[in-house]
């Protein structure tokens, strides 16, 4: 099971290592750490996001307990919350090529969903643009989702823009 927790740490050396320790010692497999020093809170704390995997749910509580005993401020806990997000842009006749069908076909993939969608209509007769956030539980699913979406885009003559480094 994949878990994402967000916490705030004091901006002093050694803090990050200290909070990662109980995660691995209680059997968590750390997949991703985002240490956002440039996004300090007004109290001068540094937000940190850690994604890790555990075998059983009970381990999560042990890890959280250990962190809280250390005085770590946990701001958010998400279970299986799609850890892999990709932003894509679609350009073309998005509505006329049945946007509902596009979304449904993507959501049919296991562990994948479109979690956000914004549309900008072009002038009459012109192409529209849409921005979608594709959320997936792991990297393999994320890649499968993007190639499925690319196939749909090709079929519907939509231009698909992925972000740098993807596809």
């Amino acid at each position: 099971m994949r878990v994402q927790i967000e916490m705030e740490l004091e901006d002093v050396p050694g803090q990050l290592v200290k909070v990662l320790e109980p995660i691995s010692s209680f059997g968590g497999n750390i997949r991703n750490v985002l240490h956002e020093r440039e996004r300090k809170t007004p109290l001068g704390r540094v937000p940190v996001r850690v994604v890790f995997e555990v075998e059983e749910k009970v381990m999560i509580n042990r890890i959280l307990g250990a962190l809280r005993r250390m005085g770590v401020r946990i701001t958010r806990i998400g279970e299986k919350e799609g850890a892999f997000r990709s932003t894509v842009l679609l350009i073309g006749h998005i509505i006329h090529t049945d946007i509902r069908d596009t979304i449904d076909r993507l959501n049919k993939l296991r562990g994948v969903r479109i979690s956000d969608l914004s549309l900008a209509m072009g002038a009459i007769g012109q192409e529209s643009a849409a921005r979608a956030t594709v959320t997936a539980d792991d990297e393999v699913r994320a890649r499968a989702a993007l190639s499925r979406l690319e196939k749909i885009a090709r079929e519907k003559k939509l231009l698909m823009l992925t972000s740098l480094g993807e596809m």
Binding site: T87, I91, S118, A120, E127, R131, T133, L159, L161
Partner: protein, 338 residues
């Protein structure tokens, strides 16, 4: 060093001006005294084995629109091939306009120059996308130096950086914003929210985009550069048709706005990787080294030891391009033990 300039348009004039400006510098620092012994354009040539006066050459080209008007030494209808064959020289600069289908006339000029035993420096993408391997092999067989830094990135030393300073690395991939015109259009579209056609027209009026901007906006110019990088840096035998190419014509202000709202800029990015060559609009996170604005170019190398290196600079313009051409000239001079 005796130089022949084939082509005397913006780029030919640019390098000529740089040679005047840098004459003392080149002599003092490198013991290099370049002499232009011939210059050719589509109407004729000027030849003087003792060296043409560069100021006079520029004046002839500006007033009479051809170097053939050079006093006493100019000759109308004298062709590039005659000059290459007849005029003793060390280095031939091939600076004629690009033709991506046949590579000509540049391709023929370069081959003929190599067969005549001249080192070659070019800014011309045509011959490089049509016959890179052939030219590379011919130069090696003839024991000649062949340089083309100016063909990619203008002033940005993309090829030199990879082939000289990063030689201890394996290059996994090269990604770049390699076309100033499209980057300028995309930047203005995202700042002003104006439609593509309007921005393009204004860009043409400013002289940033050419009258026929097809090669730029359809991504073909970037694809040419990706082909050259794949050949020169990744050691591939790539042709232009191997690059999957999408241009920016379908990008409108709606798309740039949606991208911006999510923290991205739309950039026309070329990618050269073994097994995958592509050009197309991409979402580049704002703040990413490739998210350069205006007419800037930027190139990122993905390397095994150094990880990532990005360079940025001006990709076009006669003065900027002369930086690359002059760099090639000094490099050949030093390679030959000068």
């Amino acid at each position: 060093m005796r130089l022949v300039l084939i082509g005397f348009g913006n780029i030919g004039r640019g390098i000529s001006r740089a040679l005047i400006e840098k004459a003392r510098f080149l002599r003092a620092n490198y013991g290099l005294t370049p002499r232009i012994v011939a210059a050719v354009d589509e109407y004729g040539a000027a030849v003087d084995e003792r060296g043409l006066k560069i100021e006079r050459l520029l004046r002839a080209a500006e007033r009479s629109r051809t170097v053939a008007a050079y006093p006493a030494k100019g000759e109308r209808k004298k062709s590039a091939l005659e000059v290459i064959d007849d005029v003793e020289a060390d280095v031939v600069f091939e600076l004629t306009p690009t033709n991506i289908k046949t590579g000509n006339p540049g391709l023929t000029h370069i081959k003929r120059a190599m067969l005549a035993g001249r080192h070659v420096i070019t800014s011309n993408k045509g011959p490089l996308v049509v016959a890179f391997r052939e030219l590379d092999r011919l130069a090696k067989r003839q024991g000649l130096e062949f340089r083309y830094s100016a063909s990619v990135g203008g002033a940005v030393p993309v090829i030199g950086l990879a082939k000289k300073l990063l030689v201890g690395n394996k290059v996994h991939a090269v990604r770049g914003v390699l076309n100033g015109t499209t980057n300028y259009i995309l930047t203005r579209m995202s700042k002003e929210g104006a439609p593509f056609d309007v921005v393009l027209r204004e860009t043409q009026e400013l002289g940033v985009a050419e009258k026929d901007p097809t090669l730029d906006i359809e991504g073909i110019d970037t694809a040419c550069k990706i082909t050259i990088l794949a050949n020169a840096i990744l050691g591939m035998d790539a042709k232009l048709r191997d690059v999957r190419t999408v241009g920016i014509k379908r990008i409108g202000p709606e798309a740039t706005r949606l991208a911006q709202e999510a923290g991205y800029m739309i950039k026309l990015v070329g990618v050269a990787k073994r097994g995958s060559l592509e050009v197309g609009p991409k979402l580049v996170p704002a703040g990413h080294p490739l998210a350069v604005s205006g007419t800037l170019n930027a190139v990122t190398f993905e390397l095994d030891l150094a990880r990532e290196i990005t360079i940025t600079g001006f990709g076009a313009g006669p003065r900027e391009t002369s930086s690359a051409l002059l760099g090639d000239l000094i490099d050949i001079h030093r390679t030959l033990g000068g």
